[in-house]
């Protein structure tokens, strides 16, 4: 496993070169690799002293932040769940796949390549410790350090397929955890061959594989055009791109669009690719059913009215062997909301972090950049990552960069508003359609909970029906359940950002050599509670009973 936490290439005594971070509580001595004492023990199981900055996520935002911070002299630890840096946008084949032209599947490859070079150079110089295949499952304030006001953070991660527990200590944290796709269920969406649109793109970019030979692309948002173009370029036939929004929605938002000529060119490039590959673009239409027994064999495409209700009599069957579907993206916020960071509702109806102009969250010591602050694309993520790093390092924010961010945010908001799902999409669902894929909860059961049992929010529906209690913790069904309950989808509230082996939970902080007492835990999780992979770990705990394993309670 390359770059594992025990990698000897990361010496424990890597120096913090350059000036100390001024914006960070400067307690460099707190964990400078000194011999373990109860209060001063390094909880970093990688054996390194506390980083000046820990970055979670190595997508465009996290990468830009990490290299900028290292340029400014901070010692940075980057943790990313993926095997390679790049996140969703710069997802690329492993070196072993021997792709001579990875840029063939990318826009802006050069921007990634230059940042990856800087990352590797800083890594060699010991300024950046890059931990790939490290999934951070929670971030907590270091109770021991907090007592003396040093404000350090502990990041608990699972490393590699063997899920080794690793804890990293840092004085500042940047959450650049990106987004996942918004899925709106429809009959047949659990059939094999129905895959996420971004998911198909991700599998193509990293594994050079296609979900089928004839792939319908459907949903809403600009990502669909990119996906259809890539699938076609890679050899799939794409009979149609089915977009639920009407492009006339853009009409009222021209100023924001016109101030971003670069983004318009990008859009035109995608449009050109569709024309070149002979792909039809159907707007104000949706896939309202997928057909097949063992896998998808055809889809039904229906026209939609203004509210996304299927127009009766317009259904048409389109044969295909795969469907790539997604309705935009949802910021991935569980680490942030677990820390208590404030959220807001974005133009496209999802929850995103409240951030100030320096990319600070509402929790001192925690910064964020990229899709977590609202969906906005790779260029915006790069700009925000750089701004965040400068802020962490206590440097002024370049005016040009601040303007660039504002311009790109305005563009993103215009797009988000244009593609925001209309309320009528729930008309696609029959009572038998599974809304929650993990727990297999059909729409009828959710509707019953709302109608007969008086559930008025997603949380109550969840408790009554188990929708959202499974493995994915509502990532796939959360938006749909909220819509059926007639409320706005809330921000991610999950005490753990991924399932965690029970042993690690029970032994939190689980850092060999770090005394368990370092985290004052109100109550360890009870084994029978945590052993049910579909149980809700904390929200059904009695009020005032503390929270599982020192984790914030579900509010």
């Amino acid at each position: 496993m390359p770059n594992s936490a025990s990698d000897p290439r990361h010496p424990a005594a890597a120096p913090l070169s350059g000036p100390p971070a001024t914006a960070v509580a400067a307690t460099a001595t707190a964990a400078s690799g000194a011999p373990a004492t109860a209060a001063g023990a390094s909880a970093d199981t990688a054996g390194a002293p506390a980083a000046g900055l820990a970055v979670v996520g190595a997508g465009p935002a996290g990468l830009a932040a990490a290299v900028t911070a290292a340029d400014l002299g901070l010692r940075v630890t980057v943790l990313d769940a993926g095997e390679r840096p790049g996140g969703q946008y710069y997802r690329h084949p492993a070196a072993a796949l021997g792709a001579e032209h990875p840029e063939a599947l990318h826009h802006g490859w050069a921007a990634f390549a230059s940042r990856e070079r800087r990352l590797r150079a800083h890594e060699r110089a010991g300024r950046i410790r890059y931990l790939s295949s490290h999934h951070v499952w929670t971030v907590v304030r270091d109770a021991a350090a907090a007592a003396d006001g040093s404000g350090e953070w502990l990041l608990h991660a699972l490393a590699g397929p063997e899920e080794r527990p690793v804890t990293v200590r840092a004085r500042a944290v940047l959450l650049a955890t990106g987004a996942y796709e918004r899925q709106l269920p429809f009959p047949g969406w659990t059939l094999p061959g129905v895959v996420g649109a971004g998911g198909a793109q991700a599998m193509l970019k990293s594994g050079l594989v296609l979900p089928g030979r004839r792939v319908v692309v459907a949903g809403s948002g600009p990502l669909l055009l990119a996906v259809a173009g890539s699938l076609a370029a890679a050899g799939a036939s794409v009979p149609a791109v089915v977009e639920a929004a009407a492009y006339t929605n853009y009409a009222g938002r021209l100023p924001a669009l016109l101030r971003n000529p670069g983004k318009l060119v990008e859009g035109a490039t995608y449009g050109g690719a569709l024309v070149r590959h002979g792909i039809r673009l159907l707007t104000r239409a949706a896939v309202t059913e997928a057909h097949g027994t063992d896998r998808v064999e055809a889809v039904t495409v229906s026209r939609l009215d203004r509210d996304w209700r299927p127009v009766p009599g317009t259904a048409r069957r389109v044969p295909c062997d795969a469907l790539a579907v997604g309705h935009g993206l949802v910021p991935q916020l569980e680490l942030a909301t677990g820390l208590g960071c404030a959220t807001r509702t974005t133009a496209d109806g999802t929850a995103a972090l409240v951030l100030d102009r320096a990319q600070r969250t509402s929790v001192p010591g925690i910064w964020s950049a990229g899709e977590t602050g609202g969906i906005g694309g790779a260029q915006l993520a790069l700009a925000e990552g750089e701004l965040a790093a400068r802020s962490v390092a206590g440097r002024p924010l370049p005016a040009e960069l601040v303007r660039r961010r504002a311009r790109l945010r305005a563009f993103a908001d215009a797009m988000g508003a244009a593609h925001r799902p209309g309320a009528g999409w729930t008309g696609w669902l029959t009572d038998e359609t599974d809304v929650c894929r993990c727990e297999e909860v059909p729409a009828g059961t959710v509707r019953e909970a709302v109608r007969d049992l008086g559930a008025q929010d997603a949380r109550t529906v969840k408790l009554l029906t188990r929708a959202g209690m499974g493995w994915c913790q509502g990532r796939m069904c959360g938006q749909a359940v909220a819509a059926l309950a007639g409320c706005a989808p809330g921000p991610d509230r999950r005490p753990l950002s991924c399932p965690v082996p029970l042993g690690h939970l029970a032994a939190l902080p689980a850092a060999p050599g770090a005394p368990a007492a370092q985290l004052s835990q109100p109550s360890p999780p009870t084994p029978e509670h945590a052993s049910d992979p579909s149980s809700e770990p904390s929200s059904d705990r009695p009020a005032g009973g503390g929270s599982a394993a020192g984790l914030p309670a579900d509010r």
């Binding site: 032209h101 793109q201 991700a202 594989v209 089928g212 890679a234 993990c438 796939m476 029970l502 992979p533």
Partner: protein, 103 residues
């Protein structure tokens, strides 16, 4: 253009076979287990706990947990995240796979 590999001029370092339920599937070093399965036209490799319905990779990025698979006897691995390795034995997974996790 008929194959994604042609587009990026992919010539993998190594090819090997992955043992999937006793079948030998062609794999390239650097691919995830999900990519190897998709490459072989296999879209489903587990059944759900209640309905027993077939599932495979859906989100492709590790968030949906639909692609769970048993790798070398270790259940509940996300096939879309785990790299395929030459000596791996991969088996379809039914129901919970009997691993205990807290979510």
């Amino acid at each position: 253009m008929s194959d994604p590999r042609d587009l990026v001029r992919g010539t993998p370092d190594a090819t090997f076979t992955l043992d999937f339920d006793g079948r030998a599937l062609p794999a390239q070093s650097g691919q995830t287990i999900a990519a190897v399965l998709w490459g072989a036209g296999i879209m489903a490799w587990r059944t759900t706990r209640q309905g027993g319905s077939p599932r495979g990779a859906f989100c492709g990025i590790g968030s949906c947990y639909d692609c769970l698979v048993t790798v070398n006897g270790r259940p509940n691995q996300r096939a879309c995240l785990v790299a395929a390795r030459p000596d791996d034995t991969v088996t379809t997974q039914e129901g919970t796979g009997h691993a205990e996790l807290g979510v």
